[in-house]
Amino acid sequence: MSTHQALRDPFEGIDLPRLEKSIYSPRAAFSSALSVLTGAMTLVAMLPLASVLAMLIWRGGRRLSLALFTETPPSAFSAGGGFGNAILGTLVMVGIAALISVPFGILAAMFLAEFGPNSKTASAVRFCAKVLTGFPSILAGVFAYALVVLMTGSFSAPAGGVALSLLMLPTVMLTAEEAIRMVPAKMREAAIGMGCTPTQLAWRVILPTAVPGILTGVMLAVARAAGETAPLIFTALFSNDWLYSHGRLNLMEPTASLAVLIYNFSGMPFDNQIELAWSASLVLVLIVLVLNIGGQIFSKRSIKL
């Protein structure tokens, strides 16, 4: 045998064309069709968003200016004005709601996914969380009214925060539970093998890995809470003033919020107010977008892989 014959064509005897995907074969055609279909559905799903944003920009875009962030709401038949106090109020109340519901939700989810996944308590908690998902927003307001407003004697920002946290809690908890469950078993086993207590395992392995999933849940919950009107009408009412005045932060008073502003102003028969309502909607969407992106950047930095 010469060296030439040793180097034989490895593909000799194989009919190459049959290894290529033929788009006429039913399985391949089915696959391509579904790809096109899902791509089209994704595009179609973006249409409502484009439509809503177009409507907001068309009706309220021309009012976008710095004045919106620095002035307080105008009264009927006055021009100008802004909703800086409403922006601050929304941020404060959503902040309070997140402060309550995020630790609550994550800790309870820890229990559900890690420390007691198959216990009776866990089934009961999961059940309760699922019942809470269907809780109408107006009832959250009524409940927080009875709990906080009647106790303290006045409408206040913390009352609004409590009502919103009730709406955020099931989303945060159930999403966090799923995210914690999805952490691969081998990572857990490696840590335990090195002598971690369950708590160290939770803080140093599970939570950092599950942060993207938990963050999705938190962001969805925050987006919902920022846009809810009904609970805030019963708990924080509204105000034309800033939260701080004369150097004091007045949390225990009626507080403005973007959602209630939109609800009020869109229902008034004055063009100035209606325009402000649309620009407020635009600003609210942008705020949630900024929070969303900020959260994603923050979560990437805090996990060192």
Partner: protein, 325 residues
């Protein structure tokens, strides 16, 4: 267990037995998670008790007749929530169907390497932006854009296919279809985002194994990836359905508040949450009790639907139990 002098361990490493302090922290932390878990149960029990307490007089007075009658006349004390129960279930199921179909499709499209990673990220954020729109704005968008858009095709369908009960009435403004459509759009980002996370966490080796065996892309997705991620996807549907059941503001503006019990997609109807939103602010003593009764019914519906969903899930997952992570 005490520290061994033999192992000159760096304070920052974790490859040593747990110290006393570590064990204390561990027990405290685990205890706190149990506490918060119990707090959740307590919270829900408290809410249900509060609602039930306010609803009790109405329950005693009306009994089951509230659930079966259809008139709502607060002046004469005649209340009935059957149209609302029907409307809640009809609109939520329709909304869930729309939201799931699109949500899962989008989740698959944005997680299975159809697009370059940067484009995927941008699209993911765009879809999540749908969740940022306040429900009042969805209601207004529905009134100004969706209803005028839907009117011509709906009336065409009613004229030509009116015998089918689904198209039995004309669309005269707010109605079931605009409400269900907007509801579907509202729960779409929830289902899409959470399903996407579930799909992304499916280990690559499962996909590669299927592809290596000669499956086409979609055979892999439908046969391996989606079933593995099915608990996450189902969890997202639960959250989406819960949101649909409890959605107040947008539906109050779009569903028409009419005590009609109709299968037609275009007839106005009412839902329990919209009923609460429309009547609660002005309700007097007796009416508040009836509204709390309606709220209790809504919670019971959420409960029943979740039980049903769990039962379906256990049956369905029996088929997929062979696939592990």
């Amino acid at each position: 267990m005490s520290r061994h002098d033999v192992v000159a361990a760096d304070r920052e490493t974790i490859s040593k037995p747990p110290t006393r302090f570590d064990q204390f922290v561990d027990r405290t932390f685990r205890g706190s998670t149990v506490a918060f878990a119990w707090l959740t149960i307590l919270l829900v029990v408290l809410i249900v008790l509060q609602i039930a307490e306010k609803a009790l007089p109405a329950v005693r007075h009306y009994g089951f007749s509230l659930i079966t009658s259809t008139t709502w006349d607060s002046n004469r004390g005649q209340y009935g929530i059957l149209p609302e129960i029907w409307g809640t279930l009809y609109s939520s199921i329709l909304g869930l169907m729309i939201g799931t179909a699109f949500g899962v499709a989008i989740a698959i499209f944005l997680s299975q390497d159809f697009l370059p990673p940067k484009v995927e990220l941008v699209c993911k954020n765009i879809i999540e932006l749908l969740a940022a729109i306040p429900s009042v704005v969805y209601g207004l968008w529905g009134i100004f854009v969706v209803i005028p858009l839907l009117r011509p095709p709906a009336n065409w369908l009613h004229e030509h296919l009116g015998q089918i009960p689904l198209f039995g009435t004309a669309l005269s403004g707010p109605g079931m279809l605009p409400a269900a459509l907007v509801l579907g759009i509202m729960i779409l980002p929830t289902i899409s985002a959470i399903s996407r996370d579930a799909l992304v966490s499916v280990p690559h080796k499962l996909k590669e194994a299927a592809l290596g065996l000669g499956a086409t892309r979609w055979e892999t997705i439908l046969g391996v990836v989606v079933p593995t991620a099915s608990t996450g996807i189902f969890g997202s549907m639960v959250l989406g359905f819960g949101r649909a059941l409890g959605e107040t503001m947008a539906l109050a503006m779009l569903v028409g508040n009419s005590n009609e019990l109709s299968v037609s997609l275009f007839s106005p109807g009412n839902t329990l949450a919209a009923l609460l939103a429309n009547h609660f602010p002005e309700a007097g003593g007796a009416e508040v009790q009836v509204l709390m009764y309606a709220a209790l019914v809504l919670l019971v519906i959420t409960l029943l639907v979740n039980c049903l969903g769990a039962a379906i899930l256990t049956k369905a997952s029996a088929r997929f139990s062979g696939i592990t992570k």
